[in-house]
Homo-oligomer: 257 residues x 2
């Protein structure tokens, strides 16, 4: 194997920083955590940590510097619009010790986008500001681009615009083997099979089993989600789990309930 | 005014730690951030920061120790069930240097709850474990209680159980003046009125104005949310904002669009 062959066992990690008073006040229900998490799974990148902070310079700077250092990638959502409370570019630049510039390509994109929409004014031009040295993430919905600087990706807060930016990034980031998962559903209280779950996980190193209880149609049940990067290991653990449930006389549903 | 009168200008703060692999994998869409955030507003407590971490001892311990030190209250959701991946009690106890005990009152609650449901087994008894010195938060849905230890509140991950625990805590925590808010909606691109928003906020110290753009019925618009603890200051800022919008010939809708 040549030295340059990718190491599939390397685990790539990401953090997400959600920026916005509206999430912390409860006014807006965040939708970006789930969509970024799902997207990262497909890229073979593990979301290790999420933080939500206010539109506050110190809070953003602190989180950016910690999170970008300890994950391979840091994504942010929110705070890149045209108003006074949009301070993500300033905060990320401050965190990284970079100047804020008007990005010529972003300016051209905004001038074209607003040509038939009243033209670019000072507020709109704020959305062309980036840390010095940044590249752009296309925004196919509303002109103003996302921003990449080193391993940090600044995206919009509005979920469908964020989705478009994620779509533009699909396949462009190096990742590892994606985490595979299989679900086994069972009409059982999770506390009745807790020993079996623990034993199955311990017998298959590299596998995690999550237990997600529910209460439906007047009955308790749970979905057991088995996760691993190795498909054989995953299949072996799922097999052991199903066999164990069968031995206990439980009825289970591969694929989940 | 006697010395013991509550200081209404004191700002009470909270942090929320969401614990669970299922949120970071994108499998489960978190609903607890929004409901805890909204509930805290009513208690007069400001949610300053949220973190989401995996079912991982080191990650939970680190977050608990940072967050409980820098906010008045720390709430956690998730990881207090009966299975092997439920390690919140162990992690919080480790973070605080406390032993884990079987809480006699919690044990009695579980014994009563499971009396007609197959009895208490080892897994179910896990849900009676608390840090030494804890008190309990009632759970009116499914027996197993939440836990309070010092300024840390451990709650369930399942949103309707969390809601019941929040309900049980309502009115029991000291808070400050609640943050009041008024919304003004306007069919305008936020970038067209960015100067006005900034000027209104600057002219009213203690007020924050958030701008939340939307695209509906083929038109751009935005809701401007004005927040303050002082009702007169809030009214004055809303008045100035509406006047400014009127002077620009904008049509606006008090209460929001």
């Amino acid at each position: 194997m040549p030295d340059s062959a990718p190491d599939k066992s390397r685990i790539w990690t990401a953090a997400l920083l959600v920026i916005g008073d509206e999430i912390l006040s409860g006014r807006t229900h965040d939708k970006n955590i789930a969509q970024v998490a799902s997207w990262l799974q497909v890229q073979g990148i593990r979301l290790k940590e999420v933080r939500v902070v206010a539109d506050d310079m110190d809070a953003i700077v602190e989180a950016v510097n910690i999170l970008r250092a300890r994950s391979d990638y840091l994504f942010t959502t929110g705070g890149i619009g045209p108003t006074h409370d949009d301070i993500t570019v300033d905060a990320v630049s401050a965190a990284m010790g970079l100047d804020v510039i008007i990005h010529p390509e972003a300016r051209a994109i905004l001038e074209a986008y607003y040509e038939t929409r009243g033209g670019v004014n000072d507020a709109r031009l704020r959305m062309a500001r980036t840390p010095d040295g940044a590249s752009l993430i296309p925004n196919r919905y509303s002109g103003a681009p996302g921003i990449r600087i080193e391993n940090v990706f600044l995206m919009a807060g509005v979920p469908n615009i964020t989705a478009g930016m994620l779509d533009a990034l699909t396949g462009t980031l190096e990742g590892g083997a994606p985490v595979l998962s299989e679900t086994v559903g069972c009409w059982v209280g999770e506390s009745e099979v807790a020993d079996l779950l623990r034993e199955c996980e311990q017998a298959h190193e590299g596998v995690q089993i999550g237990s997600y209880p529910f209460f439906r149609e007047g009955q308790v049940g749970a979905n057991f989600v088995v996760r691993a990067t190795d498909p054989d290991l995953l299949a072996s653990c799922v097999h052991a789990l199903c066999e164990g449930l069968g031995e206990q006389g439980r009825t289970f549903t591969p694929g989940g309930i």
